[in-house]
């Protein structure tokens, strides 16, 4: 099977306001297969947002290559196909909604690529249904909650026909209810519509539900694996300014005190089971 996203030796260098060279991404290799749900975690400034922007050619590599279904982002002819294949959802719910009516906003993407009106209608209706926002079709976006606005943004990518959605800290500005809405929406789309998901977050609880977790710091991928593998590495995570789940931390401390516990405990239930 061909990967949806193939990142090879990606380096991103830019000149900052103080005229110094900053290496935001340093020789990154990453493959994401169709249908995967990959979480990317890392502290602020670890390069995770820069990586996201490379995945639909909003940024271009200083070195290396990013290929979306085999299409290199460096080739200009591929640009619009790449952006249709990989949809983006950004952090600030307010700043990515273009139109003053929900359904008009969802239609924005397909309108841009010249889809026929009847077809747009179908796509918009389907997309709104997929994110459970049909009831808000004719509402004004500024009256919606943060979670609802983000779901509109997700619908916008679906209407564009995206097979893969990259979400750049979509829940950072939301309340707990909104966070749950977005995460469960993405898990459902991943499962039911086989949408490939790249989910960038600094909430570890959210990353625990992914198929694979990629840990970044200082522009590099430090390690990756299943949530179980990643989150049981309590010490390394903390060194990178990240927090392991409570159960993993407690298990880690207990093991240090000499208690025999199974490896890779990350949930409360798993830890409790060891006491059963």
């Amino acid at each position: 099977m061909e990967p949806v996203i193939e990142v090879q030796g990606l380096t991103h260098v830019y000149i900052d306001a103080e005229n110094t060279k900053v290496t935001a991404l340093d020789n990154i290799d990453l493959q994401i297969m169709p249908g995967e749900f990959v979480a990317v975690i890392g502290a602020n400034g670890s390069g995770k947002s820069t990586l996201a922007r490379h995945l639909n050619a909003l940024l271009l590599p200083s070195e290396g290559h990013v290929k979306i279904k085999g299409m290199d982002t460096m080739e200009e002819d591929n640009l619009w196909d790449i952006r249709q294949t990989v949809g983006m959802v950004f952090q600030n719910p307010d700043n990515q909604i273009v139109a003053a009516i929900v359904e008009e906003d969802v239609a924005f993407g397909p309108e841009n690529i010249g889809v026929l009106p009847e077809e747009i209608r179908t796509r918009v209706d389907d997309a709104l249904k997929a994110v459970d926002m049909t009831a808000y079709r004719t509402h004004a976006p500024h009256l919606l909650s943060g979670g609802q606005k983000q779901r509109i943004a997700i619908a916008g990518t679906l209407a564009l026909g995206s097979e893969c959605i990259v979400l750049d800290e979509p829940t950072a500005m939301l309340d707990p209810k909104g966070r749950k809405e977005i995460l469960s929406t993405m898990l459902r789309l991943n499962k039911e519509k086989k949408i490939t998901v790249v989910y960038i977050t600094h909430f570890m609880v959210e990353a625990m539900l992914a198929d694979r977790v990629v840990v970044m710091s200082e522009g590099k991928i430090r390690f990756q694996g299943t949530p179980r593998e990643v989150f049981s590495r309590v010490e390394e995570l903390e060194r990178l300014g990240l927090e392991a789940p409570l159960a993993a931390k407690v298990a880690f401390e207990l093991r240090k005190s000499g208690m025999k516990l199974p490896k890779e405990i990350i949930t409360n239930e798993e830890l409790a089971a060891a006491f059963g």
Partner: protein, 285 residues
């Protein structure tokens, strides 16, 4: 010494089709030196509540006062009283405006009518307090700083007013664990060393449990729970879940362990205690 709400109701846009009663007959007293967490989901009325507490909004019915001074007044006394209540809004870095970090922090003290020396001392003090080196940062543009640093400048701008009461709306929103810990360490220092009363609006049960001594749960414009976090999370778990709130992870883990027969005392409010108790039960060091 206390701030008081007496039978306060607040209605947005009264007399229009958009009329909305955000607070319903709330009575509340917060004493100097308290640390209160205010929790509730978006739209519960918690933001309206704190804005009534510091005189930014004036009650539609009832009254809000600080040490007996009505906060809605136009008198100098009322103005002074409002000046004693600091407020750090959500994403406070979005309110920075001055050319230098120094000028921005000095804005509040200057508005209080302090002279140059006093203002200067306050700015230096506040910068030290939030851990920004004076020499390095005072002359820089606040907009050239990182997100975490900008937030500290914004907090310093409020701290420099030396408020007796400090209201913080989601002070850790959007920060990673490192910056979050730094911000909370500063807040705790204010609370402990200066005796500033802290009123913290938060979505995080963890933060409420870890820092606050008193917790208010706002739901549908009313305060439905008012108590010590430890007790609230133990006794009011059902009620919290019913209004869409949660309990901190450590309570959930302790419950899961109890379910498997591990005998743990009731009062486990943080990870350290939990760990110590497990070790004690299991005879570990």
């Amino acid at each position: 010494m206390s701030m008081k709400l007496e039978h306060v109701s607040y209605t947005y846009m009264p007399g229009t089709p958009y009329e909305k009663e955000a607070l319903k007959d709330i009575s509340l007293e917060i004493k100097k030196g308290e640390f209160v967490a205010v929790i509730g989901h978006t739209g519960s009325g918690k933001s309206t509540l704190v804005q009534n507490l510091n005189g930014l909004l004036h009650p539609t019915k009832g009254n809000a006062s600080l040490d007996g001074v009505d906060l809605s007044g136009k008198s100098n006394e009322a103005k002074m009283a409002r000046g004693r209540i600091g407020m750090v809004f959500q994403y406070p870095e979005h309110q920075l405006f001055a050319e230098t970090v120094y000028e921005d922090i000095a804005f509040g003290p200057q508005n209080l009518g302090l002279n140059y020396e006093e203002t200067d001392a306050r700015v230096k003090d506040a910068m030290k307090f939030v851990g920004l080196d004076f020499e390095t940062y005072a002359g820089r543009s606040p907009f050239s700083l990182s997100g975490g640093q900008m937030r500290r400048v914004a907090i310093a701008g409020v701290v420099a007013m030396n408020p007796d009461y400090l209201i913080l709306d989601e002070p850790s929103a959007g920060l990673d664990p490192g910056s979050r810990d730094a911000v909370f360490a500063e807040v705790m220092e204010l609370y402990k060393k200066r005796g500033t009363a802290i009123i913290m609006v938060t979505h995080s049960m963890e933060d409420a449990a870890q820092f606050a001594k008193r917790m208010l749960v706002v739901y549908d414009g009313r305060i439905i729970i008012d108590g010590k976090p430890g007790e609230v999370f133990l006794k009011e778990k059902e009620q919290l879940l019913k209004v869409g709130m949660d309990v901190p992870e450590v309570y959930k883990l302790a419950d899961a362990l109890r379910d498997k027969g591990l005998r743990l005392p009731k009062e486990i409010t943080d990870a350290k205690t939990l760990l110590a108790e497990i070790k004690r039960r299991k005879g570990l060091r």
